[in-house]
């Protein structure tokens, strides 16, 4: 190849982020896991739509739209966020090491941070499509039973779910940077978000009387809480025996948003630092 006729443009880090995001999104879009997520959304949507249409559960289709969205959207969205996070973020970075794709990308004039952020944006985009599709199905169902009425609480809940997604993907990328094995990083992500944080949210307030402000799933509680009328009390004490009371904390909206924001910032910073330092050793 002749070298004389070639001029190379200086590519900014912002452009690099866009390039990585574009090709990783393409990679996600064609990957089997994207279609698995679509099937999951289709199954949940079909099940919900058909069961509600057939049984018309009292209170769900004949009271107010907020209750309807709480029963459908509010019940499944957290699970979808966790699955999307695991599928699109769980091994986003670890696979660069395990599958050796990093050997193709990293030895180029591109900052590792651009690769990290670009991949994160692609994961957010792919997950947002999944969540957006589920929101659309729920919205169409809602409009069928409550024509012309889209409660602002549903719109808020949708916005909060995207905020949760952004924070959860930041956490997933942190774990993905920590491990070189895709399976372990995906598993850690699912176990943490589905089990560990859930247990912490339940046990810490009840037995220690401490608000679990350090838990991402506690902060994400605002996604479903905003669909409750009225919004749940910040602290609820429920008698659970003669001398024992269960303490339940519900994050307020500002508190929930703050927790998710802190998770996003801290996990992004630590994950990025880990990826910058991590070595491609066989």
């Amino acid at each position: 190849m002749a070298s004389e006729d070639m001029t190379k443009a200086r590519v900014s880090t912002a452009s690099h982020i866009g390039i990585i995001a574009k090709y990783n999104f393409l990679n996600y879009f064609r990957a089997r896991r994207f279609y698995v997520m679509l099937v999951i959304v289709a199954l949940v949507s079909a099940l919900f739509t058909s069961l509600v249409a057939y049984y018309r559960p009292p209170g769900l289709t004949d009271s107010d739209p907020i209750t309807f969205y709480a029963g459908g959207w509010g019940r499944f969205i957290s699970l979808l966020v966790v699955l999307s996070t695991a599928f699109f973020g769980g091994d986003a970075i670890s696979s660069e090491f395990q599958n050796r794709t990093g050997y193709f990308l990293v030895p180029n004039p591109i900052r590792r941070s651009a690769i990290y952020v670009g991949k994160w944006l692609a994961a957010v985009a792919a997950s947002a499509i999944i969540i957006g599709l589920f929101a659309l199905v729920m919205l169409l169902n809602g409009l069928y039973y409550y024509p012309g009425s889209v409660p602002s609480e549903f719109v808020q809940s949708f916005a909060f779910s995207l905020t949760y997604l952004v924070a959860a993907l930041s956490l997933a990328f942190l774990f993905s940077s920590l491990f070189k094995s895709s399976a372990i990083s995906i598993l850690m992500n699912v176990i943490l978000l589905l089990i560990v944080f859930g247990i912490v949210d339940a046990i810490v307030p009840s037995f220690a009387g401490v608000e679990p402000w350090f838990s991402i799933t506690y902060g994400a509680g605002i996604v479903s809480s905003v669909l409750s009328i009225p919004y749940p009390e910040h602290v609820q004490i429920i008698p659970a025996g003669r001398d024992f009371n269960l303490t339940i904390y519900n994050a307020t909206i500002p508190e929930g948003l703050a927790i998710l924001a802190v998770y996003f910032v801290v996990c992004a910073a630590v994950g990025l630092w880990l990826f910058e330092k991590k070595e491609f050793t066989s």
Binding site: M1, S15, L26, F104, N108
Partner: protein
């Protein structure tokens, strides 16, 4: 400015194990330098430090005078590499993967398709350009990887065993490609000494993380190959006894043996008969000599310098 690669007191440690030990190596100019050493000698580790895949514990790895650890983006702007056997996102096609690299490297959009077509043609992968990489064999992927180093007109190319996973024809084609990169600095590791002899002008030999020698192949062979040269000569027809006798009688030839029907191995004393004169004399016999391969000289040098395999 001539392209350059420089390791300045580069050390890489993994815990108590020192993979590369105080390596000083400066390569400058347009040439091909073979990077040799036994398994675990530190070849790939060194190359990884030059390409930002790992960081040096101490010292500096510089490409065209720019320290990779300080400004990787600038250092790698004119450097392409193939380290170990990279994988490409399986759902992308070679064309998409190479377009991504073109975009990352700032190849003007009007040039991209031409560059990609040329690079894929060089590695004989044009008809696969729109097929997903996930369906490719290891050798096909490696061809795309080789193509990726040709895209952006780098003046430094780092190749870590580029013919790994390729069939004999693929290996030969890679050698041809490396040979065609004449106006660049190519730094290539390989265990195939014949390959290095064929495409490189200089060699750097490393063992236990330390540089043993860096010089031209001729000098290394002369200094360390026990004073003797070895060539393998290929003939168009089976070699008969008379031809063998005539070769043995050439002044400076110390031994002669048949490798197979059409190949003979000739050991000679280069101080009596330099290699090029030996080739002329054998060609002058008009016995159908077609190919001359000088490999074992480097092998002898290698064996005299590297005493253990690990």
């Amino acid at each position: 400015m001539a392209p350059s690669l420089e390791a300045v007191k580069v050390t890489k440690k993994y815990g108590s194990f020192t993979a590369v030990n105080d390596l000083n190596l400066k390569i400058q100019g347009t040439k091909c330098v073979g990077f040799l050493g036994p398994n675990g000698a530190g070849k790939t580790t060194t190359m990884k430090m030059f390409t930002g895949l790992i960081a040096a514990t101490n010292g500096n790895a510089l490409i065209n005078g720019v320290d990779v650890s300080k400004d990787k983006k600038a250092a790698l702007a004119s450097c392409a590499s193939l380290i170990e056997t990279p994988e490409i996102y399986g759902s992308l096609t070679p064309k998409e993967a190479l377009t991504m690299l073109c975009e990352i490297r700032g190849v003007p959009s009007g040039e991209r398709n031409k560059r990609i077509d040329e690079a894929l043609a060089q590695v004989k992968m044009q008809e696969w350009e729109d097929k997903k990489v996930s369906s490719f064999s290891k050798g096909m992927k490696q061809r795309v990887n080789v193509a990726s180093t040709l895209l952006s007109d780098p003046n430094v190319i780092i190749l870590d065993e580029p013919s790994t996973g390729l069939d004999p024809r693929g290996m030969s084609e890679v050698r041809e490609i490396v040979r065609s990169l004449g106006n660049r600095l190519v730094f290539m590791s390989s265990h195939l000494l014949a390959e290095v002899t064929e495409v490189c002008q200089e060699v750097a030999l490393i063992d236990h993380g330390k540089l043993l020698v860096y010089d031209t192949i001729d000098n290394v062979t002369a200094r360390f190959a026990g004073g003797g040269g070895v060539v393998i000569i290929g003939f168009a027809k089976p070699v008969d006894l008379q031809t063998g006798t005539l070769i043995s009688k050439i002044e400076g030839v110390t031994s002669f043996s048949r490798t197979n029907d059409r190949h003979v191995t000739v050991k000679f004393d280069p101080t009596v008969v330099p290699q090029d004169q030996l080739f002329e004399k054998i060609a002058g016999l008009k016995a159908g000599a077609r190919t001359f391969e000088s490999a074992a000289g480097l092998e002898d040098a290698y064996l005299s310098l590297v005493k253990e395999t690990l």
